[in-house]
Every structure is written in structure tokens, then in C-alpha cells.
């Protein structure tokens, strides 16, 4: 049923189907080039709450509610949720999802969370362990900035390689295969390895994550026996403008030319000319919201047939950085295919 292709790489012959998804974003994301694709754009950075942390939880709650509504399912139908975020102890997910009463598996993959959640949800549903599983994640500019970099009121200068943590959230609901597979399905996955080439600059995360993305994509293509042009798009999470170039170069050295099919959610999210976002967007919610707001609808509307979704994470910790550690990168991959009977 699930075929192990290589170490950490698998394909699903009876793939689980995506039955619902939702995307919510903040004001700045709504003003960017992708602004029209979200289900909801919230102009208030506090989402009606008292703190930024509560705002992020509120956003995650709204996003899952949207995905449930679109799937026609109730919270009681979900066997479990896979969720995580960037905040210490993943409190965006804990407090955002607490009220649903749904069994919860907390995951931590930094900005690779949506791909990790989809990967695990696909195995949980395809194996029959649960009937419906949801993958949910979020990020918020203000919670991330104060935790990972500087207090916002400090007004620190951001270098050109810095990325802008998106205020955004995405949720996807998967259904156990029923034998009559039709629709958008998770047809493969690749678990990322930690790749650490020694980058230590929290304002240069594209460079920290690009080698991990290259490793994951190359391992999947090799195991699947495919070439990049076999896919309508190879979508990375949030390498941004700088990291994206690095990724194309790294894969070229391994004999894979992805330039024509590569798209990066971080590079797509903002207009660097007018939005002062430097190298692009980042955060768990960046790739999650564009997957749910842009790529899944395009798969559904038959503009795309098959894509690789490769969310990238920088396993950054202020404590580790203060102790002189580098920033390890990781990238998890899922293959998404529009299946017809």
C-alpha cells in the first residue's frame, strides 16, 4: 500500500485525497502580489486578541474552521491533527487548536511544518490508522521577530538577505483512500535530513535552508526515477530570492535542472520593490498559505496536474545561536497529484 522507495522516501499507490483546505493571511500579505488567493485577509495584526501570540492562535483556529467548512466535515470527524509552529513550545497550535477537542500530534519542523504534517497525515490515513487527518500550521511576523531577532520597538535595520516572516496560516484535511481515487492526492513523500553547512546568520536563512532543499529534492527524484520537468512545478517553502538561486545552482551540480519548474513561496509572497521585504517571505505560514490559497486551487482547477511541495525549515534557536551554533536546515517533501478515474 505504501511503497518504501529509498531511505525516508515513499510512494502511495492508494493515495489519500485532500478534501478540504483553507488559507488566512495578514494585512501585508493581503497587499502583496498573492493577496487575492487567500480565503480571508485580516487587517488587524492582533486578530481581535490582546497579544500577538493569541493572535497567531486565533488565526490557526480560523484556518482549520475554514478547511473543515470547505470539506463539509465537523471537528468530530477528524481522527487527528498534525500541527506545529515557530513559537517556543508550539503554543500557536496548542492554544489555537485546544477548543476543538481533536486528538493532536504536535510536530516541529520550523517552516517545513506543513510538508511534515502532510507527510505524516498521508501515512496515518493511507495506513488506515485514522479516517481523516488535518495538517495545520501558522506564523506571525510579530511573534517570530520578537522571539528570534529583536524586539519590534528596537527598530533594528534588516540586511538585504533578511526575509520577512509572514503572518499567515494554512490547513489541509486528508481522507483515507476509498479505492475510487479521484481528486488531489498525496502520492509520495520524502523525509528531510538535517543539512548544516555552517551558516550562522539569522538574517541569511535562505542560504541555511537551500542545501537541505537540494538534498531532499535530489533524493526524491533519484528514488522516483524522475526528472524535474516531469512535474508542473517544484515548489519550495521560503528560500526567498537569495536561497532560490542557491538551490538552482546546487541541483545543477547534481545534474538536475529545475530552473524552469521551480517556484518559491517566499519569493512569491511579497513585492520586494514596494513592500520592503528584502529577500522575501518566510515562516511556517508562508508556504502553508500559498499551498492552500494558490497551488491546491490551481491543481483543482486543472492548471496543474502534479507538483512537488518542498517546505524548508531553519532549525534556528536563539539559545543555540547565542552559544555559537550554526543554523541547521531541513526540507520535507510531498508529491501532490490530481488523480482521475
Amino acid at each position: 500500500m505504501i511503497q518504501n522507495m529509498a531511505r525516508g522516501v515513499f510512494q502511495l499507490r492508494q493515495p489519500p485525497r485532500i478534501v478540504g483546505y483553507g488559507a488566512v493571511a495578514g494585512k501585508k500579505e493581503g497587499e502583496g502580489p498573492m493577496g487575492q488567493c487567500f480565503d480571508r485577509v485580516e487587517p488587524d495584526a492582533y486578530f481581535g486578541q490582546k497579544t500577538w501570540e493569541q493572535a497567531e492562535s486565533q488565526m490557526q483556529q480560523e484556518t482549520l474552521t475554514l478547511a473543515l467548512a470547505k470539506s463539509g466535515l465537523t471537528a468530530q470527524s477528524l481522527g487527528c491533527i498534525l500541527a506545529g509552529d515557530l513559537m517556543d513550545q508550539c503554543i500557536g497550535s496548542t492554544f489555537g487548536l485546544r477548543s476543538f477537542g481533536i486528538p493532536l500530534l504536535g510536530i516541529y519542523g520550523a517552516c517545513s511544518t506543513m510538508a511534515e504534517g502532510l507527510l505524516l497525515s498521508s501515512v496515518l490515513t493511507a495506513s488506515g490508522a485514522v479516517t481523516y487527518a488535518a495538517a495545520v500550521t501558522s506564523s506571525h511576523f510579530s511573534t517570530a521577530e520578537k522571539q528570534f531577532r529583536y524586539p519590534l520597538s528596537y527598530g533594528g535595520q534588516r540586511p538585504p538577505t533578511a526575509q520577512w516572516t509572514c503572518t499567515a496560516s494554512g490547513a489541509v484535511i486528508l481522507e483515507q483512500p476509498d479505492g475510487v481515487t479521484e481528486g488531489i492526492c498525496v502520492t509520495g513523500g520524502c523525509v528531510g535530513k538535517i543539512v548544516d553547512l555552517g551558516v550562522t546568520d539569522a538574517n541569511h536563512m535562505g542560504a541555511a535552508m537551500a542545501p537541505a532543499a537540494a538534498d531532499t529534492i535530489a533524493r526524491y527524484l533519484e528514488a522516483a526515477g524522475t526528472q524535474p520537468h516531469a512535474y508542473d512545478a517544484i515548489v519550495t517553502g521560503d528560500l526567498g530570492l537569495v536561497g532560490s538561486q542557491l538551490l538552482v545552482e546546487l541541483l545543477q551540480k547534481q545534474g538536475y535542472d529545475i530552473a524552469d519548474v521551480h517556484q518559491d513561496c517566499g519569493a512569491m509572497m511579497f513585492d520586494p520593490e514596494t513592500q520592503d521585504t528584502h529577500a522575501g517571505g518566510s515562516g511556517c505560514g508562508c508556504s502553508a498559505s500559498l499551498l492552500c490559497g494558490h497551488f491546491l486551487p490551481r491543481l483543482q482547477q486543472k492548471n496543474l496536474r502534479q507538483i512537488l511541495f518542498v517546505a524548508t525549515g531553519a532549525l534556528l534557536s536563539p539559545t543555540a545561536s547565542q552559544q555559537g551554533e550554526s543554523i541547521p536546515g531541513i526540507a520535507h517533501l510531498v508529491e501532490l497529484t490530481r488523480m482521475v478515474r
Copy 2:
């Protein structure tokens, strides 16, 4: 292959087998009543490193190395690791496991991490997605204390309900079922729900976690159609002395009498009379190291045939607590059975 019994509850008819496990603990844990059960007791709180955080990573690395050695496998044989810890951004796992080059799925369940890792590993191996998977976790008294409560040098007084975060680590390796199942297997699982009855005291975590443990145990027993005495032991993670009593009372109200079969790793770890540990041990490493040092060997030596391992987590965050939030609890469960041909 995997049978969905109820929401978030499953059983494995062809169960994956445990082929290796290891337990490492610190000096204080080594001096306690369970001191003889660990593979290794490290007298140096720094594990030869410069910081406590690095010490915890080093401990995790040693524990997985031990489990690999006992299984006769190399790091290259592992399809993936499921790992997490209490530190912000799970850096114990990231930096402890970085050098192995094994695909990594980061998880966050606070002190429930070992059960969550086993639960996901069992589905990943039983479904055929990977051949071998490892579940790894750790905690360190000093990294947890400085992050969640007070700087150690502050010398804060600890109330009687407080628990002592264990310096300890555990690692378990699971193998894909081969049809000839013999040995200790993961035969069932129950994904925990967030249960939050409003406890706000970080020095009273047993009370915060007991309702979650009761919910998970009751859901599993109900779905499996079994009674507590069907198991040789129902082992909870780190409810401690106070939380354990609460758990027994809560389950009694639901018609389940677990008093005779219940054991709690937090209550077992230290001698409260001589070790000044108040309500008992806690931390991801508490239940993980006693699972790997005590319960798995007793299953192997045929002292036990079947147990429920229910690791409990307090999804505590200093930021959330400072903002007035309560401490949500969660408990994940795996059923472990010694199978004979």
C-alpha cells in the same frame, strides 16, 4: 493492516517489533531507586560539553548510539527518526541527531514525546513507509529549570507539589513487520487530546496532566473493549505522586479501577525522602529512560507480557504563562505486547 478502533485509536494486527533500545541518565537519577536499570549513568552534568544545552544533545546522541548498537543496525539502516525535547525549537534533538545524517521528523509533545514518537514510528513501519524508525527524546534538569522556571543560581524555593525534571534520555528502534512476529511489539495506540482544566501553576504539573492521562486511558480501554486488569501494568509518564492519585480518582469516576496495575515513572524515579525531589520526576527523559531501562527489559525477560505506556505532557510555555494562560495537558498511549509465535 492497521485497524482504526475509534477516533485517534488504532490497533496493529501485524505489529512492528522493537529491535533495540537504550537509556542514559544523570547522576541524581543514577543514585535513585531505579539507578541500576540504565545502560549508562553520567556523573558529569555537562556530559563533557560546555553548556547544559550541548550536554542534553550529547546525551541524546549517546542514547541513540546505544540503541543502534544493541539492535545491530547502523545509522544508515534507519529510514527516519522521530524526536523532540523540551527546549525551545527542540534543539536537544536537532543538534544531538544532526551528525547521524538520518531523515528526521521533529515532534513536540513535551513529556509525552516518547509515546508520540513510538505511536508515529509504529504507523510508519507497519504501513511500509520505512523499514526501521527510531523514537528518541531527552530532558535535562538544568536546561528545563532555567527555561521554564528560574535561573538555577537564583535558588528559588520549590513547593511540595513541584517535580524534578530528570536528566535522562531514551531511544527505541522499531522494525517493519515481517509476518513472523515475535518479540516486543507496538500493538496499539491512542493519540491524546488536549485537556485543560485551568491549572496555571508550573509547580503543579501532575494536576495539569492527570485529566489528559485519564481521558486517553479511558478512550483506549473503551475502544479496545478491555479492563485495566487485562494489562500487567498501565504506566504513566510523569504525573508524580500528586498527579498519580488524581489519575486513579478520575478513572474511578469513569468506572475504571487502575489502582492495582498503575505505575508512574515520575513517582518511581527518585526517593522523595532522601533526594529532595518533592512530588517526583518529570521531563521527556523520565518516562523514556524508564521505558528503555526498566519496562522494555522486563517485557523481554518475561516478567511482563502486555503494558500500556501512557506518556503525559504539560504543553507549558513561559510566554503563554506570563500572558495568564493555563497549562494544557496531553497524553499519548501505546500498547506494548510480548508476542510469541
